[in-house]
């Protein structure tokens, strides 16, 4: 999938997340995973579309700036 590096990506607050799995089928690039009772958002495939944010029944997902650290810059995959 063509991906423009987004300014912000989804992040989960595991202290709030109930592991219900509702957000998984909402994610167009299937960047959200639920494994061994932990929800993770794959930073390299999240497109920042925000489709998972509002539907979370408990508000566990939010957007966070994707700031590449100087040591490991996130490559622009469409470059």
């Amino acid at each position: 999938m063509r991906r423009v590096t987004p300014d912000t990506i989804a992040v989960v607050d595991l202290a709030v997340c109930d592991r219900c799995g509702l957000c998984l089928p909402l994610c167009p690039p299937e960047a959200i995973h639920l494994e061994l009772n932990t929800l993770t958002v794959d930073k390299t495939t999240c497109t920042g579309c925000e489709k998972c944010i509002a539907p979370c029944p408990v508000g566990a997902l939010s957007m966070t700036p994707l700031v590449p650290s100087p040591q490991s810059p996130v490559p622009a995959l469409n470059a």
Binding site: P25, E30, L36, P55, P57, V58, G59
Partner: protein, 391 residues
């Protein structure tokens, strides 16, 4: 490397019935049923309501310990709290899903399936030998199971579907975000389910009261986030409960997603079938999925047994599962989905006037059919909605 004929991922109603039916149809097959949680049936993510006829195709609810409540009445509530009471409108049940799911898994076990709890599938691939190689984690131990057929009954968050290359994604408008409390100390009719429709209470969905006992119930709602005023499902529910049951005691809480779409385009691949919530086999009007899941599990189990006996687990062979499902219920869901789309344009004022129309029919003559007919006569704007039922 354990070698099995059928590996079922997820021990909810779809998975347990799939394992049970596979063994019933072909007792010689090795069938393993995986449950990632510590016990089958827990945590409960469900309002637990189910219709009588569908349930009886599989198990007998009379006197069963996995039933919480027998239901005879349905009470529809308009946004302004006008009630439309349908007495003796048919029998339904509110289950105790913890016990119900355990009962179904016990049936699968008694039929000879191996049930493993606390055991999670973490990935699978096809390695050229015509089998699926499924990574299975149980505590610190990881093994690879080799399976002729994998049945994905792993719920709304299905990973089996993804691993098999099936598209299990859903548009935001067709996802109900749900929150539910178990409340005690309620003053209500414990033989009725209550359904309240209102954009202010549960936009794009409805709020429900499903009795669990004389003064206890599952009290919850489902809403579509796209129609929200900014609050999430739990915040909508807290507002409704505060108004409706300010003095109740909360003993349980759950959240989850209900997909109100239609069956995924393709529920099968070579050596794979997906069933239940994982394949979006939910009635898009009611949000009900338990009986549907069991029916799909039965079709998947019977198809798996026949396919393995015929030594043909190809995509083409398993496509018969999809055809059978579409004929049984999938085509109906397409119609229900069209009705749901048409109803999305009805606002709270309209729903209030609809409730008053329904109440003009005397209680003893008030059936769902008559309410529907009167609604069409007095509210012609519903005619296009009804028309969609037949196209």
């Amino acid at each position: 490397m354990p070698d099995v004929d059928v590996l079922v991922v997820g021990a909810g109603p779809a998975g347990a019935v799939a394992a049970w039916e596979t063994k019933r149809a072909a007792p010689e097959l090795d069938v393993v049923l995986l449950e990632r949680d510590r016990a089958v049936g827990s945590p409960v993510r469900c309002a637990e309501g189910v219709g009588d006829a569908g349930l009886r195709e599989f198990v007998n609810p009379d006197g069963a310990d996995w039933v919480s409540r027998r239901i005879t009445d349905v009470i529809f509530e308009a946004p302004d709290d006008t009630q439309v009471i349908l007495s003796n409108s048919g029998i339904g049940w509110v289950l105790d899903r913890t016990r119900f799911d355990a009962h179904l898994a016990a049936q699968a076990s008694a039929a000879g399936a191996t049930v493993l709890v606390n055991t999670e599938a973490t990935g699978m691939s096809r390695n050229g030998d015509g089998r699926w190689h499924v990574r299975v984690k149980q505590g610190a131990t990881e093994e690879v199971y080799r399976a002729r057929i994998v049945i994905g009954a792993d719920g709304v968050e299905t990973m089996v579907g993804r691993w098999a290359g099936l598209d299990t994604r859903v548009p935001s408008r067709d996802m109900e975000s749900c929150a539910q409390y178990v409340l005690e100390g309620l003053d209500f009719n414990p033989n009725a389910i209550y359904l309240q429709f209102s954009d202010a209470i549960a936009p794009g969905g409805y709020a429900w009261i499903f009795p669990k006992g004389e003064d206890a119930a599952n009290v919850g709602l489902g809403m579509v986030a796209l129609k929200s005023d900014g609050r999430n499902a739990r915040q909508y529910l807290d507002a409704w409960v505060a108004r409706r049951f300010p003095n109740s005691k909360q003993t349980g809480y759950t959240v989850g997603g209900v997909i109100v779409h239609t069956t995924i385009k393709k529920t099968y691949a070579a050596g794979v079938m997906v069933a239940g919530d994982a394949a979006h086999m939910i009635n898009p009007l009611s949000g009900g999925g338990i009986n549907n899941a069991m029916k799909a599990g039965r079709l998947a189990g019977c198809t798996a047994a026949a396919a393995i006996r015929e030594r043909d687990t190809s995509e083409r062979r398993l496509s018969k599962y999809h055809q059978a499902w579409m004929e049984l219920l999938g085509e109906d869901h397409l119609k229900y989905y069209r009705i749901k789309q048409a109803l999305e344009h009805m606002d709270d004022d309209f729903l209030n006037s609809l409730a008053r129309t329904a109440n003009k029919i005397s209680p003893e003559k008030r059936t769902l059919g008559r309410v529907f007919t009167q609604a069409l006569i007095r509210h012609p704007q519903l005619i296009p909605v009804a028309a969609r039922f037949f196209v």
